[in-house]
Amino acid sequence: MVATTTVSQSLPLTQGSAVELLGVSKTRPKGDGRETGGLVLNHVNLRIEPGSFVSIVGPGGCGKTTLLRLLAGLEPPSAGHVHVGGQTVRGPSPRRGIIFQDANLFPWLSVLKNVTFGPLAVGISPKDAEARATHWLTFLGLSKFLHRYPHELSGGMQQRVAIARAIVNEPDLLLADEPFGGLDWITREQVCDELLRLWHTTHKTFVYVTHALEEAVYISQRVIILSARPGTVAKIIEINLPAQRWADADLRFSPEYARLVEEVREIFAEQTALG
């Protein structure tokens, strides 16, 4: 991992932000284009330690995505408070990066320009923006594709560009909303490992929403299981697996890993049945 060492040298090892949700509820008006109106999140209390990697899982429609959008500031909560890094979230901010389900790249910009978009928006000089973008794209194995357009890339590569774009502003909190749902399993595992390496090098706070339970166990330090709609925190499970998981090819076959997945699965099934 040559790239890893260069990255850790160039980046200040500042801790990520702490995340706090205090009695957060979210109601949606009926006929919003979504399934149904009504209560989506019900009085969620949650604290995420700075610099930790946390996954959120839960039955379909339990408000995982909504929770993430509240953290990103893309929607306001109907009740309660959302704090990130000690401050109330009042709208989108470059301090909180987000990776969406679809790569959502700007189709009219090249890979490099997609990634320099963020730095340029926060007032970094074009030269520095390009250096930073090139750095992260190289880290993610895209150095040969800087001047390609998104539609020329495969889904996995597009999603890696999206990761680079979200991380290049060096946000204190990185949110990911089922980012690899559209990828095949091999690519998915690869990109997952890259995200994990990224977390390990940056020491930011990562919040990862997924419906793949094994992935949640594999990637995070804690798995938060939400109840069925309206979502609330049902259970938090600590994942005591080694930090540098990508280095251990047999991890996914270890009894400890299997036990943790089984535990999450049981609680998940319980919650689905209750809903």
Binding site: A72, P92, P94, F106, W108, R148, H151, L153
Partner: protein
């Protein structure tokens, strides 16, 4: 298990270069010698027939003076072009598609000319409404000065009106798509006034504007404004919300959002609007020139009609068509520059 090991064994960068994930367009095979020879031969034969019909069939009906023959030189020119491009197809093989395109035009033109010439020689069709091909070609030689001047005047009127209308259209469209207030307040009025045909404004325009030229500009600008505005508006409204959100979480303020996300995302639609409104602008151009403007192709057509010189009407109509092609390809050039990223996704 095997893939696990493979994955950890190869570094990221090499994995990418090992799998060519970038999509390259398929190469189109060049037209064969047989196709080139067949098309070129057909073109030569057809144009020889045109020459034969024109020169061998005696002119029926009384004619006081024999008009200058422009068709024979033109047919010879076409034959020359056919032979030259036939040779070119073998010298520059990469240009074969273009050579075939020339032949297709030549062949269709020749096939259409043969019955026309027969009918004209045997006096089945009557001048001045249906003049001979020779007479129409003659206009380009005998009256080229007036024709060129008319083109220049028409272009001036068209370009000024169209540019003003398009800029206004884009500006209005952006404002409507961007601000709920603007669209709420103006929706009704735009629905009411926008669809009024520009021609209906003629009586008013003539009174309001100091000259027929400025009135013409207004009419053309009005005609191009509406489609450009509507398409820009729908383009802005159709910008994926996800892209706006992505830009916002990257730190973009409203200004940057508009300039770097909304405008580029709406641009494909804007160009559809520009293309659509150009057709209307051309129509209004001719109407305006027929009604009052004292120069230009529209004026030339009305003027020629007044003198019963219908061959000039036909000649001017063809010029009008050619002018449209030139202006459209200009717009397409700009579009291809700005929307290069779209190639492969959408083609017109």
């Amino acid at each position: 298990m095997a893939s696990e090991e493979l994955r950890t064994a190869i570094p990221v960068a090499e994995r990418d270069s090992a799998t060519p994930e970038v999509i390259a367009p398929d190469a189109i095979p060049l037209p064969s010698n047989r196709v080139i020879n067949l098309r070129a031969g057909t073109s030569v034969i057809i144009w020889l027939i045109v020459l034969a019909v024109h020169n061998l069939i005696p002119q029926a009906g009384a004619s006081f003076k024999v008009p200058t023959d422009y068709l024979s030189p033109a047919a010879l020119l076409v034959l020359g072009i056919t032979l030259a491009s036939w040779a070119a197809a073998y010298v520059v093989q990469g240009r074969r598609e273009q050579v075939l395109a020339i032949y297709r035009v030549m062949i269709v033109l020749g096939v259409a000319l043969i019955p026309w010439e027969v009918a004209e020689r045997l006096a089945w069709i009557k001048p001045p409404f249906f003049p001979s091909a020779s007479k129409i070609i003659g206009v380009y030689i005998e009256d080229s000065g007036t024709l060129l001047l008319s083109v220049a005047y028409s272009l001036r009127l068209l370009v000024v009106g169209y540019v003003i209308g398009s800029i206004a259209g884009v500006a209005f469209g952006l404002a409507l798509g961007w601000s709920k207030h603007v669209s709420n307040w103006s929706m009704f009025w735009i629905r009411l006034i926008g669809p009024i045909p520009a021609t209906a404004w003629i009586p008013l325009a003539i009174v309001i504007f100091p000259s027929s030229f400025t009135a013409g500009i207004f009419l053309i600008a009005f005609a191009s404004w509406f489609p450009v505005m509507m398409l820009t508006w729908s383009g802005v409204a159709g910008v994926p919300k996800a892209l706006l959100e992505a830009a916002q979480t990257l730190g973009a303020d409203d200004r940057r959002l508009l300039r770097h996300v909304v405008i580029p995302a709406a641009l494909p639609n804007v160009f559809v609007g520009l293309f659509m409104s150009l057709g209307t602008a051309f129509a209004i151009l001719i109407v305006a020139e027929m009604l009052g403007v004292k120069a230009g192709l529209g004026w030339y057509i009305t003027w020629s009609q007044g003198w019963s010189e219908y061959h000039k009407v036909y000649a001017a109509m063809l010029v009008l068509g050619a002018l449209f092609i030139v202006v459209v390809s200009g717009i397409f050039k700009v579009r291809d520059r700005l929307l290069g990223w779209q190639k492969g996704i959408l083609r017109w």
